[in-house]
């Protein structure tokens, strides 16, 4: 049995320590991993979905993963409790706190469930919480679809989604993580010599496709970045295997920063950070326009 103490601030960067301690415990023969939430004070949506992937992933590799300190009073534990995180992932019967208006309920998603999740839950929540026009919500939904459909097309059996509005920072964060093979693995089927970070960059290139299925023509990530970074001025963070890519606005337009990371993030994790103060400008995107062939 191994006790894994979570860091004070859990995000995709600090997940590194959690993963390494879990792997070390498994290598030492531990069959039970206990994730200790007592010290956790802040967790963002990407950290939440990545932690869920870790818990479910190691449950498949060792006898069990359980949670400690989930009855605590730390802000992060109360936050995860109200979002339904513990209810979704553990067998415990902790009393769930009332859902917060600024948080979309933590959601395990498999197969085609992302369709209902987007249209029946996420869209209405964004419209109500961020108070956007229906036009803006529609264009934003098409952009979010590019993230969610990745779970069905590449994510294997299961993925997780989470969204959080930070009104004081005028930010909307939406994170999706899946337990698939990871983007670099798919890219290397076509370009075998690419490192993980370069593979992520390649995957964002318009028209590049690994043709892993008939639905993929290589436009999804490019569309996501165009909308979030180019249109909104937000950021897109993509983490998969040993690669990381951050797309943000630079002095000469959209800038993709890639780096090799020293720990293996199974599957893929994506987070978009949208500026809510500029989101309504997206109305311009959906103005009626006569189509003309080029």
């Amino acid at each position: 049995m191994a006790l894994i103490t979570l860091p004070r601030n859990l995000n995709i960067d600090t997940m590194r320590g959690v993963y390494s301690r879990c792997w070390e415990a498994v290598a030492a023969g531990d069959k039970i991993l206990i994730l200790d939430f007592k010290t956790l004070h802040f967790i963002d949506p990407m950290g939440t979905t990545a932690l869920a992937c870790l818990a479910v992933g190691f449950s498949d590799k060792v006898a069990s993963v359980s949670f400690l300190g989930v009855e605590g009073d730390s802000p992060a534990v109360r936050y995860l409790n109200s979002a339904g995180f513990f209810e979704s992932l553990s067998d415990g019967e902790e009393a769930r706190l009332a859902a917060r208006e600024t948080t979309i309920e933590f959601m395990p998603i498999s197969g085609t469930e992302h369709v209902n999740f987007l249209h029946m839950r996420l869209r209405p929540w964004i419209a109500r919480e961020v108070r956007l026009s229906s036009d803006t919500v529609e264009s934003l939904s098409a952009c979010i679809a590019e993230m969610l459909q990745n779970i069905e097309h590449h994510g294997g059996a299961l993925g997780f989604a989470m969204a959080q509005h930070y009104p004081k920072k005028s930010e909307l964060r939406i994170a999706v993580a899946d337990r698939g093979l990871g983007i670099p693995v798919h890219v290397r089927r076509v370009l075998p010599n690419l490192k993980d970070s370069a593979a992520l960059s390649k995957a964002c290139e318009r028209g590049f496709t690994t043709k892993t299925n008939v639905t993929n023509r290589g436009y999804g990530l490019d569309n996501l970045i165009r909308y979030v970074v180019g249109n909104n001025g937000g950021t897109v963070t993509l983490r998969s295997r040993y690669g990381m890519l951050v797309a943000r606005r630079g002095p000469n337009g959209t800038f993709l920063h890639t780096q090799v990371v020293d720990w293996d993030c199974p599957g893929s994790a994506v987070q978009i950070v949208l500026r809510t103060d500029t989101l309504e400008k997206s109305d311009e995107f959906v103005r009626p326009e006569v189509f003309e062939w080029f």
Binding site: G207, R217, N223, F291
Partner: protein, 98 residues
């Protein structure tokens, strides 16, 4: 002319499968030599998977010139037009590069 009003056939215009339904209406009409107008009435934005299946898949069966001359996009928005045009442009560049 054949008019395909997307909202008459699919609920959201969101998934590849919904796009495939639209493709199955467009492709046979184009194969018969007809002009097809695809109406996005009531739709402001769609994800790429829907466009991939409904429209870009046509490039597997028809030449771009053929598509341009007999496929019309109507009742659309800047968002949708941009997605369609960039998709066909990329397909055209790839075809030229072959």
């Amino acid at each position: 002319m054949v008019l395909v009003r997307i909202k008459d056939h699919v609920q959201y215009a969101y998934t590849y499968e919904e796009g495939q339904l639209i493709f199955d209406l467009i492709a046979p009409a184009l194969a018969r030599g007809e002009v097809v107008a695809v109406s996005f009435e009531g739709i402001k934005a769609v994800p790429s998977s829907f466009i991939n299946a409904s429209l870009l898949q046509l490039t597997d069966r028809f030449s771009l010139d053929d598509i341009r001359s007999r496929l019309q996009i109507v009742d659309s928005t800047h968002f949708i037009n941009d997605l369609i045009k960039r998709g066909f442009q990329t397909a055209s560049e790839k075809h030229t590069a072959k």
